[in-house]
């Protein structure tokens, strides 16, 4: 209380004395922050570096993690022993992740536009229905989903997985897109309407570019979640040629004939992690926006 009314002349020496201490504190802060950062990055660095070791080395403890007997991609090639090549399974994962992202974008953009710009019967109820699904963990409906997909002839298909992953993304994505459309001034639409733009053309050509940040966020979350999802893929895919990377790698990790090929595990983990890391580093802003949009509301 008293320092607020303190004479500037009296405060000056306090400042000067404090400056050295502040610099010391800054240094201490940065040293700590860097050490913590290294701790968080270490496991990722360890596995990526270790995946390039030779077969002889790959079963050894990773001390140091990088190859000491020469660089080798043998660990990646050895994944072929588990069914088909790593490219095939990466293709499965990519199909599911891109499919989920694309379908989520289309469905949630349409819905977001509808909820933002139109009035129709049962609007509130339908919106609530979609958002309420976030309260129910999908783990609790997995058993019937298994039967339902069989009924629809979609058991053991990547398409079935895409439809389920898309549904799981909808509460977040529809909410996000509705807000994105709400933020677009109505005057823009009306100006376009006078120019004769109508229907889907209005949505794609006029509104599309304006809600693009929302579209990127929604697509990014859908891609990453579908790429990384494990439990549903484990339950719903039984044919080994359909496996996504997480399911394949779990089979690799359980080993065959009692021995585990840790080099193959390192390679698989690297293949699974790298696309996520790159996407995140490129689209960091969109990602964080999605996260905080959920947190603030």
């Amino acid at each position: 209380m008293s320092s607020a009314t303190m004479d500037p002349a009296v405060r000056a020496p306090v400042r000067a004395r404090g400056r050295g201490r502040i610099r010391y504190h800054r240094l201490l802060f940065h040293v700590t922050a860097v050490l913590v950062a290294l701790l968080f990055l270490a496991p990722i660095f360890w596995v990526v570096a270790a995946s390039f070791r030779t077969p002889a080395e790959s079963g050894q403890p990773p001390l140091p993690p990088w190859p000491t007997q020469g660089f080798s991609i043998d660990s990646y090639l050895r994944l072929e022993k588990f069914g088909q090549s790593i490219l095939h399974y990466s293709g499965n994962s990519l199909f599911v992740a891109v499919g989920t992202a694309a379908l989520t974008i289309v469905v949630s953009t349409l819905a977001g536009y509808g909820f933002s710009r139109f009035r129709f019967p049962l609007k509130g109820l339908v919106f609530l229905l979609i958002l309420a699904t976030i309260m129910v963990p999908f783990q609790s409906i997995l058993t019937p989903l298994f039967l339902l997909l069989a009924k629809l002839g979609l058991q053991n298909t990547l398409i079935g997985l895409v439809l389920i992953y898309t549904t799981l993304q909808l509460p977040f994505s529809v909410f996000m897109m509705r807000n994105a459309f709400d933020a677009v001034p109505r005057e823009i639409e009306e100006a376009a309407r006078i120019d004769g733009v109508k229907g889907v053309r209005m949505l794609v050509q006029v509104m599309g570019p304006l809600v693009l940040p929302g579209v990127v966020t929604v697509g990014l979350f859908a891609f990453l979640n579908a790429w990384n999802e494990f439990l549903a893929a484990l339950v719903l895919l039984t044919d080994q040629s359909k496996f996504t990377l997480p399911v394949l790698m779990t089979a690799v990790r359980s080993g065959r004939f009692g021995s585990i090929d840790w080099g193959a595990v390192q390679a698989g983990v690297t293949v699974m992690m790298i696309p996520c890391l790159i996407l995140f580093l490129i689209l960091q802003r969109s990602y964080i926006r999605g996260l905080t949009a959920g947190a603030v509301k």
Partner: protein
């Protein structure tokens, strides 16, 4: 662009602008067509399965053969199923450890990188990176690092002279449990850091500044200004963390396969075993219904607790 509304032929000539101009074309069924795909997906792949879960829980439902109505038998059987209650108990224990660890670490990280300054953006990115890697990859990575012969932890401890012999940390319950918990903290702390950070940043700097001028120490400013104001994002983080941990599966399935001695089987893992290993689909559904009810109650309690304290 702004004056186009004036020449809109649909605008009323009376001079008074209509209250909601867009209603001109937005009051029919057109909007329903736009939301139809989303609604259809949610109904087919969410509402119907949810109803089916409850329906199936009242049946003896094998994979092959005809389901048979047995009323509440699955639920009464569940009451005597000690393995299920054991799994729930273990899930609760894990949830407690993970929540305390995650929110504690996340709060420290959030306080560290809350204010923008040199280097802070890089630190944030570094702490957040494990979040985007996915539970399956993180678990596989940890399974390797925890392996006694080819991993990192045991050989490193030996090299540093902490242990004389190789220690298989996945072979006994305590070390295995803490290894998984540490993995989860490593992987998810960045996520809760961002949520808590968004709360911290929403506090007007004037408040902190005013308290500083009034002579409040750093810990006092944190206790009396920051903490009460971050209750909302903290509630969100708590609910996400508790419900996420209660649904844990990937890490225990991949790293520990439920071992040692089947002591790390979580609730979802137990349901997975009942439904998809033993193919008792009806019983698995009944357990799912109970788990769902438990989660709903937990979320409601947390919301209530945090809201009441805020209002008082």
């Amino acid at each position: 662009m702004t004056n186009t509304t004036e020449i809109d032929p649909a605008a009323t000539p009376a001079g008074k602008p209509p209250p909601r101009r867009r209603r001109r074309r937005g009051s029919g069924w057109e909007g329903l067509i736009y939301v139809l795909p989303a609604a259809a997906l949610v109904i087919v792949f969410f509402m119907i399965p949810l109803g089916m879960t409850i329906w199936m829980s009242l049946h003896k439902w094998p994979l092959m053969g005809k389901p048979r109505w047995i009323g509440l038998d699955n639920y009464s059987r569940m009451l005597g199923d000690r393995d299920f209650w054991g799994a729930l108990g273990f899930t609760a224990q894990y949830t407690l450890a993970a929540t305390v660890g995650l929110l504690g670490v996340a709060l420290i990280l959030a306080l560290m990188v809350e204010r923008p300054s040199r280097g802070v953006a890089l630190y944030r990115t570094a702490y957040f990176l494990p979040v985007v890697t996915g539970f399956a990859s993180a678990s596989l990575l940890w399974a390797w690092l925890s392996n006694v012969d080819s991993g990192l932890f045991s050989p490193l401890a030996q090299m540093l002279g902490l242990t004389a012999q190789p220690v298989n940390i996945l072979a006994t319950f305590g070390p295995a449990f803490w290894s998984v918990t540490i993995m989860v903290v490593w992987k998810m702390a960045g996520f809760y850091m961002v949520i808590l950070m968004s709360g911290l940043q929403s506090i007007p700097t004037d408040y902190i500044e005013a308290a500083r001028i009034d002579g409040a120490k750093a810990h006092q400013r944190f206790r009396y200004i920051t903490l009460p104001l971050v209750r909302r994002p903290f509630a969100l983080a708590l609910i996400l963390c508790v419900s996420g941990s209660m649904l844990a599966f990937d890490q225990f399935y991949i790293i520990l396969s439920g071992g040692p001695q089947n002591r790390t089987v979580t609730a979802v893992y137990y349901i997975f075993n009942e439904s998809f290993v033993s193919f008792r689909l009806g019983y698995g559904s009944a357990l799912s219904v109970v788990l769902l009810a438990i989660l709903m109650v937990l979320s409601a309690i947390q919301l209530r607790l945090l809201r009441d304290r805020r209002e008082s």
